[in-house]
């Protein structure tokens, strides 16, 4: 994270952002991975992941955030997330039915339980996270003419 005083907000905001942005991202990933155990899941976690990047953009300016995820990468990742979700659904055909949960269910309340639910949550998390970030990018495309 470059500390360019020309762009973004004040030093206070930048310092706090630098401290918290990683935690926000981590919390988003936590929510995604525990979707089958606790409230939240792919969508809620994806929104938090997207917020961490939006946070970065607000504090440091557009360029810093775009350097991490570009618009092309966001749109490709979004399609990949959707394809992954469809693939998880199609996996069910191996067991005979669309969306059938074919993986071993494991012990309840373990992180690795509930079969394909966790895979679905991860793909939804990717899709929603980069999707929301791409929407935010599209909204900040307009800027003051120099």
């Amino acid at each position: 994270m470059r500390n360019n005083p020309e762009t973004g907000m004040t030093l206070i905001v930048k310092t706090i952002t630098r401290l918290t942005v990683g935690l926000i991202l981590l919390f988003g990933i936590y929510i995604i991975l525990h979707g089958h155990l606790s409230p939240g899941g792919g969508f809620a976690g994806g929104v938090i992941v997207a917020l961490s990047f939006v946070h970065l953009m607000l504090a440091f300016g557009k360029d810093v955030a775009v350097a991490r995820i570009s618009k092309n990468m966001a749109s490709n990742l979004e399609s990949i997330g959707a394809m992954m979700f469809l693939l998880v659904a199609l996996l069910g055909f191996l067991g005979g039915s669309f969306f059938l949960n074919i993986l071993a269910k494991g012990n309840p309340f373990n992180l690795f339980s509930a079969g394909t639910i966790i895979l679905s949550n991860i793909s939804i998390g990717i899709k929603v996270g980069v999707g929301l970030f791409a929407i935010f990018l599209a909204l900040v495309v307009l800027e003051k003419s120099k």
């Binding site: 959707a82 659904a89 005979g96 039915s97 669309f98 059938l100």
Partner: protein
């Protein structure tokens, strides 16, 4: 893998095509066109095959349990006569529109994005038609609606953006009404499965929930299908979209999102009483007359067609609102016919726009000599929509009028006749100002549009000419099965639940 596996394919194929297109379309030249052509052809073939399978299925119904969960708990997909009828209509039009778009969309940038949105719209419509779960219906409705908002704005000029904004606002209001309606039904019936809900509603008495929800759904789906008090978005949205999307919007989207959902919920879940039917007939009759009167004074080719969509949806709703077997048959047959000829008319308007760069009827003229195929197919479609005898529009309108007379609604029958005459007048105007007369000097050098645009127009024109044959007994099962599902009313519940239990 058995026969029943065909049902989820109607959602899987367009969804996979949509995201595959957006993923590889940018890198591999012509890949998006290939993917969309194959997927829409496959969908059309599968919808015909589903019709074939349905004939041999017990009770003419197939129920697919997603994830193997039994219906009241899991989501199920139901393929019955009505869904099959709608699936064939949607996928037929979607296939021809996809072929047409291959050349037509050359005018716009970023074809892969267009095909992604197009495919998502088809996915939404197919999903809405085959789902057996009320909330699932809402989700697919939103997929189709949101894709269509983006597609209307595809040109990103001021006009398109304004139309799309208006459409998005009105569409979201409609979705909100539908959503609140579903929430009330859920809190009352404690189930979201359509069949189970129909069962609960018929056993549990309540004085206010059903009428209240009925009004919410009428407003919501009325907005989606652009019946007259709710039609304000349509005359802006249809002309602003690319011609192929206008054809989809007018041809199938307003029918799937509006009319089909209305039929499914009012007849099969809530159970249509005479009160609802009277309201539907009244709205239908108003739409019929108001739409065509507004269309008469239009000079923009596509805007004129958009007003005619309102008018023709009025016929469909009037026929279905009659509630008699003949009326419903007429309404559904008109729904199919309107899909065919209105898509054809919009494709024609796109061809005129493609060749001349304008769709103002005051500027065009004499195009018949330079664009013979477009002119002839347009003549066929105009005669169909006006209800001239050998074409399909005549048969469906005649059935609706006879059904009105049979039920003793002479006023509505007269409205239908007047609407038809005014339609003829307005399409004579199109013929005169677009295709007949002298060619203007600045259009001396225009050429007929490319083959991929001509092929869908010719095919649709052939369907217009021979569409009336669907009424002869050996082909009537296509319509009769759909009518039977509607007439069964709330006993849909027991049919679906029994089929699911097997």
């Amino acid at each position: 893998m058995n026969n029943i596996t065909i049902i989820p394919l109607f959602v899987i194929i367009p969804l996979a095509a949509a995201f595959l297109t957006s993923l590889v379309g940018k890198f591999i030249k012509r890949s998006s066109e290939t993917i969309i052509f194959i997927s829409s052809l496959a969908l059309f073939a599968f919808s015909l095959y589903a019709r074939f399978l349905l004939n041999s299925a017990a009770g003419k119904i197939m129920v697919y349990k997603i994830g193997g969960w039994m219906p009241p708990f899991g989501i199920c997909m139901v393929l019955d006569g009505l869904s099959c009828f709608m699936l064939i209509t949607v996928n037929l039009i979607a296939f021809f529109v996809a072929v047409y778009s291959l050349s037509y969309m050359e005018q716009y940038t970023d074809k892969p994005k267009f095909f992604t949105l197009f495919s998502l719209m088809v996915c939404g419509m197919n999903g809405l038609i085959i789902t057996g779960d009320l909330f699932n219906l809402f989700v697919f409705l939103e997929i189709a609606s949101i894709a269509s908002y983006a597609l209307v704005a595809f040109g990103t000029e001021a006009e398109e953006l304004e139309a799309s904004f208006k459409y998005a606002i009105m569409g979201s209001v409609a979705s909100a009404f539908i959503f609140i309606g579903i929430a009330f039904l859920y809190s009352f019936a404690s189930t979201l499965n359509m069949a189970d809900m129909a069962r609960v509603l018929s056993n549990k008495q309540n004085e206010w929930v059903i009428p209240f929800v009925g009004v919410l759904f009428l407003m919501g789906f009325g907005l989606k299908s652009a019946l007259v008090p709710f039609h304000a978005w349509l005359p802006d949205a249809h002309p602003a979209a690319p011609a192929s999307i206008s054809a989809m919007l007018s041809g199938v989207l307003i029918k799937t999102l509006g009319v089909y959902s209305l039929i499914r919920i009012f007849f099969n879940i809530i159970g249509a009483t005479q009160g609802y039917l009277a309201v539907l007939m009244f709205l239908g009759a108003i739409s019929m007359i108001a739409g065509v009167v507004l269309a008469l004074s239009q000079w923009d080719f596509k805007r004129l067609l958009a007003y005619h969509s309102i008018s023709q949806i009025g016929y469909v709703i009037l026929g279905i609102g009659l509630g008699t077997p003949l009326g419903i048959l007429g309404g559904l047959f008109h729904l199919f016919n309107h899909s065919v000829f209105k898509s054809l008319l919009f494709l024609n308007s796109g061809a005129v726009d493609y060749a001349t760069g304008t769709r103002d009827l005051k500027e065009t003229g004499g195009l018949g000599k330079l664009m013979p195929v477009t002119a002839k197919t347009n003549l066929v479609a105009s005669m169909s929509i006006a209800g001239i005898p050998p074409f399909n529009g005549f048969f469906s309108k005649a059935i609706i009028i006879i059904a009105c007379l049979e039920k003793g609604n002479f006023g509505y029958a007269i409205c239908a006749v007047i609407g038809s005459i005014l339609t003829l007048a307005s399409f004579m105007k199109v013929q005169k100002f677009a295709f007949l007369g002298e060619i203007k000097d600045k259009f001396k050098n225009i050429k007929e549009v490319p083959f991929t645009m001509l092929f869908p127009m010719v095919c649709l024109a052939v369907i217009c000419i021979f569409g009336g044959l669907m009424l002869i007994p050996s082909f009537r099962f296509f319509l009769d099965d759909a009518v039977a599902v509607i007439l069964k009313g709330t006993s849909y519940a027991s049919v679906v639940l029994e089929a699911a239990a097997k």
